[in-house]
């Protein structure tokens, strides 16, 4: 990837590590939330940005993951085990939910996932024996790993930042492997991909499952961060919000989700300057952003760079350098 990119990433990394030492607990909570949502957004970016499958159920997977961890840890399981369970459970469910993707076209798939996420909400709310229903689950403990208690805001931030880094690295590895190329091929031209021996069925399901699994892992971080979960937190709005993060950040760019989640977490806070009208301002900003850079922030950046470095119209930037070229 470009030198500029390297500098940006290193800069961001340094900042991410330094930030909590300058922030109050509130600020730390916000950037912790950013790390948590970024994990889920990376997952959605994988299904949507790379494999081209629209999912409106990512929020539901966060919910499933969060409930899994909350229930298991309160049942006395060690956090790491619960963490893995959350991920794998969502992976399996995602694999199952992927099947419609094999049958129907993109926007119909979106509708199926949309229905799915609402169904998940109903189950979480109604199956009180399991999920405590509308009361939600409170007093979720933050994990202690190898004697390191993540109870304090800053500790937990570094814990979730670390998790994010590991997961992002793993995703990065996968996207640099032939799989990344296969996912893009799947998005670009399934017919041709198939005739080149690419098992579209398995790759589609895989993309969906991994994306959902990351959603679950994000939930596994969400639960101990907020220390309380209720069905209402995982309704469609959350899925929409994640979709927004991916698109606004730049769908199909490896770092899109990082930027998108940052915007989705901090922009409303920032807009609060306008008091009661902040959500209107936020919504307006999003609409404006979509109108002026429909390819997301990174899309715009890439176009800007392309525009100065080379003449002629820049390529459709949904594809980016990092993830796919060896």
């Amino acid at each position: 990837m470009s030198r500029l990119g390297v500098i940006a990433v290193v800069g961001a990394a340094i900042f991410a590590i330094a930030a909590p030492f300058f922030l109050k607990p509130f600020g730390i909570y916000l950037i912790s939330m950013w790390t948590v949502l970024t994990v889920a957004a990376i997952g959605l970016n994988l299904t949507l940005g790379y494999a081209g499958q629209v999912s409106m159920a990512q929020g539901a997977f966060i919910g499933i993951g969060a409930y899994t961890v909350a229930l298991l840890t309160q049942a006395g399981w060690p956090y790491p085990v619960a963490f893995v369970c959350a991920g794998s459970l969502c992976f399996v469910i995602g694999w199952g939910l992927g099947y419609p993707a094999l049958r129907v076209q993109h926007h119909y798939l979106a509708f199926v996932t949309l229905a799915f996420s609402t169904l998940v909400f109903l189950v979480l709310r109604n199956e009180e024996w399991l999920t405590h229903g509308v009361y939600g689950i409170s007093g979720i403990a933050r994990p202690t790993l190898f004697g390191w208690s993540t109870g304090k805001p800053r500790d937990f931030y570094f814990f979730s930042l670390g998790t994010l880094t590991v997961l992002a690295a793993a995703t990065w590895w996968m996207l640099r492997s032939p799989w990344g190329r296969a996912f893009v091929a799947l998005r670009e031209n399934p017919l041709r991909a198939q005739s080149l021996g690419l098992d579209t069925r398995r790759y589609t399901l895989m993309a969906f499952a991994i994306g959902s699994g990351l959603g679950g892992l994000s939930g596994a971080l969400y639960a101990p961060l907020v220390q309380f979960i209720e069905p209402n937190s995982f309704v469609l709005d959350l899925s929409f919000n994640l979709l927004l993060m991916v698109i606004v950040g730049g769908s199909g760019y490896f770092f899109g989700p990082f930027v998108g989640a940052l915007i989705a977490v901090l922009l409303p806070e920032w807009a609060r300057i306008t008091e009661g009208y902040y959500l209107m301002v936020y919504a307006a900003m999003i609409m404006g952003m979509m109108a002026f850079c429909p390819y997301g922030v990174l899309g715009m950046v890439e176009r800007a760079i392309k525009a100065v470095t080379m003449r002629g119209d820049p390529p459709t930037p949904i594809l980016h350098a990092e993830g796919t070229s060896p």
Partner: protein, 291 residues
């Protein structure tokens, strides 16, 4: 039995409203590939236009007209030119995000500039109850049913019996061909947006006496219309109507006979079944796919 009829009748009345909203939804999809996630808020808003102008002392009937006019301008013209047009060429998703943001924007506007409280809204007819076959229906729901059906029939005639309508259909089915045939595609698309604006305004006037004018009304309505549209057939006006009725009745029957806690789940299950078994919807056409 009586109770069954009761459920059926109320279901129809509710379904008619869904249908009304779903129709506009499908129109936008057909002519401009717009999935309008703000459709529910589009229905919520006109009621406030009307209340506002009544607050200024304008009589109801005139306010209603003003409300329709305003929604044509704001939810029709402005929506198309400010939000849809700039984004159309970039594919469906950015527009989806934008309409989602729009729905938040409209909700918050209604709340901030009018009130978070549910507002009483004048009914078209005094609500008296009629009895038949042991079931009770309020004149209100009958009027809703009647107007909804009338509107939809009118729309159907417009689309199938008039030259304009056929041009719009052509535009919906194959813009390129329509352009070759010399149909002013852009204008046709614009018309569908205006029609949608009128439909939502009418829906708003019909439901607000029952739902009361409240900024959250869009949430349930939007999703219901959305489901209705897909179940019935995303690219067919008739389908949307069928979908609306199915939804309205199904909701009542499932709540009464299966589970009220899961009443919301049955439409979704139907939706999934329909998409898997008949993706184009019950009455839909299969959209030509380029292989």
């Amino acid at each position: 039995m009586a109770s069954f009829i009761q459920l059926l009748v109320s279901g129809l009345a509710t379904g008619a409203i869904y249908a009304l909203i779903a129709v506009g939804f499908t129109l936008l999809w057909q002519t401009s590939q717009t999935i309008n996630f703000a459709q529910g808020e589009f229905v919520m808003l006109p009621a406030f236009f009307i209340l506002e102008s009544m607050y200024l002392g304008v009589p109801f009937w005139l306010s209603a007209l003003i409300g329709i006019a305003l929604s044509i301008v704001i939810l029709g013209l402005l929506f198309k030119f400010l939000i849809v047009d700039p984004m159309l060429k970039h594919g469906v998703l950015p527009l989806v995000i934008s309409t989602i943001a729009l729905s938040l924007f409209l909700k918050e506007s209604a709340k901030n500039f009018y009130s978070s409280q549910a507002q009483p809204f004048p009914a078209l007819v005094p609500s008296t109850d009629l009895h038949f076959l042991g079931a009770v229906v309020s004149t209100q729901s009958l009027v809703v049913l009647a107007v909804a059906i009338a509107t939809v029939v009118a729309l159907h005639l417009l689309l199938h019996k008039t030259r304009l309508g056929r041009s719009m259909q052509a535009t919906a089915q194959n813009p390129t061909l329509a352009r070759i045939l010399g149909i002013p595609v852009r204008r046709m698309v614009l018309y569908t947006f205006l029609i949608n604006a009128v439909l939502v305004a009418v829906a708003s006037i019909l439901i607000s006496p029952i739902y009361l004018a409240k900024f959250t009304n869009g949430e349930t309505l939007g999703l219901a219309a959305f489901l209705a549209a897909i179940i019935g057939g995303f690219n067919q006006v008739r389908g949307a109507i069928l979908g609306g009725f199915i939804l309205g009745i199904l909701d009542n029957l499932s709540a009464a006979y299966i589970s009220s806690q899961y009443r919301g789940a049955f439409p979704l299950l139907i939706l999934i079944a329909v998409i898997l078994l008949r993706p184009q919807g019950l009455l839909g056409r299969i959209e030509e796919r380029t292989v």
